[in-house]
């Protein structure tokens, strides 16, 4: 209960400070939250924002799905086989540090600026982080558990579905969460650069006199990130309640 009050107080303080700072600088520099809500909420429901966001998310989810479908098996294989690990790790390390923004001009030459470009950017931004998360999770599986399974006569399929998969489950959700956050970031990078979809909305609202619509668009993205995180955390605590995630991020 005390926690809830503290959190609400923290949010209230942040909003209060924003309101004061916003009023001081005026809406052309930093619109206050009251103004953002007053201007952005009508815009939100007049059909100029949400359908665009939905379209962007649909394309993003294809890139994410591809990255997840490839990243999960890659992570499991790397964790189970030292050879695969040694073969894939250099590329994984390289992929993790590579700047997505720097890939944008390259991918435009390779794929144009359409659908395949956006999917490729999201895929490339996401796959490494999914693989890395699953790898760390699968490495934590105790060999003893698998030995116990074998001792009780489990074949390879059974030991995968009955031992590894449940042990991996929380990591599948963490991988999805981290992957989705990276996918959303990549979507924004790609779309702001070529000025399409939700990125175009952000870009164009930057040109308007008031910062309220721009801040509204940012708040919507923030809300999206929070909802994704919250849903996947909840799912994790419902489906794998034995697993208490260590707070790392």
């Amino acid at each position: 209960m005390r926690r809830l009050w503290l959190r609400l107080a923290g949010i209230a303080i942040a909003l209060g400070v924003w309101e004061l700072v916003g009023r001081h600088f005026g809406e052309s520099l930093f619109a206050a939250p009251s103004l953002v809500i007053a201007q952005f909420v009508p815009q939100l429901f007049d059909g100029s924002v949400l359908p665009v966001l939905a379209g962007s998310l649909r394309q993003m989810s294809i890139g994410f799905a591809l990255a997840y479908a490839l990243g999960v098996p890659a992570g499991v294989l790397m964790a189970r086989s030292k050879t695969v690990d040694a073969l894939l790790h250099p590329w994984l390390s390289m992929g993790v540090v590579t700047s997505i923004a720097a890939l944008v001009p390259l991918f435009i030459l390779m794929f144009g600026t359409g659908f395949s470009f956006r999917v490729a950017i999201v895929f490339f931004a996401t796959v490494w982080f999914v693989a890395l998360t699953i790898y760390q999770g699968a490495r934590g599986i105790e060999p003893r558990w698998l030995e116990v399974g074998r001792a009780f006569g489990a074949g390879p399929i059974q030991s995968f579905s009955k031992i590894m998969l449940p042990a991996l489950f929380p990591y599948l959700l963490i991988g999805a969460r981290i992957g989705l956050i990276h996918a959303i970031r990549a979507m924004v990078v790609a779309e702001t650069f070529v000025i399409v979809g939700y990125g175009a909305l952000i870009h164009n609202s930057g040109l308007s006199v008031s910062t309220a619509p721009l801040l509204g668009l940012l708040l919507l993205l923030m809300l999206l990130g929070i909802v994704v995180t919250w849903v996947l955390r909840k799912a994790s605590s419902l489906i794998a309640p034995w697993y208490e995630e260590r707070r790392t991020a």
Partner: protein, 258 residues
Amino acid sequence: MTGILRVPAARTVWLNWLSIVLGLIVWEAIARRLPHIVLPPPSIVLVRLVEDTLNGKLVVALLGSLEALVFGLALAIAVGVPLGFAFGRNRTFAEMFDPVLNAIYAIPPVAFVPFLIIWFGLHLPARVALVFLMSVFEITVAVTAGARDVNPNQIDVGRAFGARRFDLVRKVIFPAALPFIFTGFRIGLVRAINGTITAELFFAAINLGALMNDDARRFDTAGLLSVIVLLSLLGLAAQAALRRVEARVLPWHIRAAA
């Protein structure tokens, strides 16, 4: 997780190199069947990388990029480390502002670009601001974890020997949190490198960003790839260098290579 010195076996190192060579061969084989605009072979990219390094083009651009990188990262460290300590050591503060921090962190940094243009224009201040935004949260999160997980026994020992609040922070909590501060620097540095090139492409194109823009205009895919490879190698080298420094400065605490 901590305190394990992971010495890669000779076989692993060998396989790492084999993997790089194999990857390059596959890339070369695929690229030879495709037009160079779509995918140039690594041999050509490598030649470009060496040429542009020797004729100074990449070096000059890279040195120019360092300015925003250094300022932005220094600001992020100056804000992120104290903020991380506040979050890690003060429970009330953490409870209050953790949701706010997470909320701001959830916004993709590039979405701030139009806003940063309004505030800082298109040049150095805007680039510094984006580098700062892209690295400060990672540093804060790592330092928070470090400051929170200081072994309470160590603090008790410090207290028992009469250390007061300031001494406690300086002589017990800070050294115990140092490995996490280093982790924060390492992640922050990589993010700052990414932030620098992002800024150079999304604000007024300059330095490496300008090189990439020119290459893109001339459909020079090999040029683009040489810049990307250079940046990625730089990121890896920076990480490795900081690990070295960490092992020197904190010999009692060599962390597992993750």
